[in-house]
Amino acid sequence: MRSDFFPPIVSAFLFLAIWGGLAFLLDSPALPAPSVVFQVLYQETLSGQLPYHLGITLARLLVSFVLAMSLGSLMGIFLGQHEKLDRFFDNWLVIFLNIPALVTIILCYVWFGLSELAAIAAVVVNKLPNVVVTVREGARALDRDLMEMAQAFQFKRWKTLRHVVWPQLYPYLIGAARTGIALIWKIILVVELLGRNNGMGYQLHLFFQMFNVAGILAYTIAFVTVIQLIEAVVLKPLDRHAKRWRR
């Protein structure tokens, strides 16, 4: 198959056509036609419901993302530089990496109550070990030759950080950020479903109880679009910027 015969637009239309065809054949409320879903999407947007819940979820996403990234980076850099501590805490990391997301979420709600704090904490704890492991890898791989060069030419602390250390960590941070977004936005819906009374997860739960499949699909489309936009507009350009000097 030659790919230039199937540009993205064609493939998107094919997807919609198959969906529409199936919906028409099945003729069941379990699979509403695309037109119905987009109508719901439009109405929910007009009524302000969708922007409200989407906004809440994105705000939670932003807060927990920033927290997980900054805490995780600090811990990762620290562990990457201190071999003994790293060996000591390595088991802890393995444990935290392997605790299922659902367990952390339930425990957070049990320990901290059904609060905003518990929700954010649950997401952060889920994401944190990933960031630590990725950034630690970067901090371990810091080029000794370049550090010596900086020392020999008497770079000041800030100059060394900015021009020698930061560019080496940057690809790892971007990597952690990209996988981070992908992980967090999936977890955050479960967190909201289990213990919040607003946000995308809460809405989806409501639609589920009312067997409103069109609503579920409409919200999904909105959410996926926003996440893809963040990826394309923010993270990908940052990634490209980080690689500009490579051959």
Partner: protein, 246 residues
């Protein structure tokens, strides 16, 4: 311009599992005259790089001192490593400018780049340069900070012969424009004779002073391979222990 005194009483690496204490340098005392070009010659692995790292202040775990003879002021040291060690995410020009101490005039950089034939490559990233070009950039960087002492650690190893000769000529040219003390490490005797005012031979570890020879070939004759060859043969026949070592 001052002379430079290097006194290393002892440099040892602590014992690790599977090996005892490794004494790298013992009782090494060198005096470098102002503006002198000195080549340190010794077998591979004899601790020459260790010595340069001590002088550059990269390693402070040793007994002894390194100081400039008259003033006692800290030296401004340019270091050209065995590999170029350029920051790959900064352009050629940025690499050089970053190394300049604050308040230092950056004007000579343009001239140095010009002499080295790098003016066109200023805005390139180092990964796009050949090894020979990267070495020249590292050379410019070491010269640009206008050092009182320039350390060079086998900087031309793994360059092909014509490229190495060309970069050596450039080195002598910029050094003659602004003479300062150079400590050049090599295990290539011909290279040492071509470059140096004085050769210092070092023993295998624990490294110490073995022998020294002033090179009396006029600078204008250094490009003639026969002159270098004659000097080398005379040196080796006079000091068989040197040929054993290299």
């Amino acid at each position: 311009m001052t002379r430079i005194l290097i006194d290393i009483d002892l440099k040892a690496y602590p014992a690790k599992r599977g090996s005892g204490v490794h004494v790298a340098i013992k009782d090494l005392h060198l005096e470098l005259a102002a503006g002198e070009f000195v080549c340190l010659v010794g077998p591979s692995g004899c601790g020459k790089t260790t010595l340069l790292n001590l002088i550059a202040g990269l390693d402070t775990q040793f007994e002894g001192r390194i100081q400039s003879g008259e003033t006692g002021k800290p030296l401004r040291i340019g270091y050209m490593f065995q590999n170029p060690r350029l920051l790959p995410w900064r352009t050629v020009r940025e690499n050089i400018d970053l190394a300049l101490p604050e308040g230092l005039d950056g004007k000579p950089v343009d001239h140095l780049l010009d002499v080295m034939g790098l003016s066109q490559s200023q805005s390139q990233y180092p990964e796009r340069l050949s090894l020979g070009m990267s070495r020249r950039v590292a050379l410019v960087r070491a010269f640009a900070i206008q050092p009182t002492l320039l350390l060079m650690d086998e900087p031309f190893v793994s360059l092909d012969a014509p490229t190495a000769r060309k970069v050596r000529q450039l080195l002598i040219r910029v050094w003659q424009e602004r003479p300062h003390t150079v400590l050049f490490v090599t295990h290539d005797l011909r290279e040492a004779i071509t470059l140096a005012d004085r050769l210092i031979f070092l023993s295998p570890p624990p490294m110490s002073f073995l022998h020294e020879v002033a090179v009396d070939i006029p600078r204008s004759e250094r490009e003639k391979e026969t002159e270098v060859e004659v000097f080398r043969n005379r040196l080796i026949s006079g000091h068989p222990e040197i040929s054993m070592m290299l």
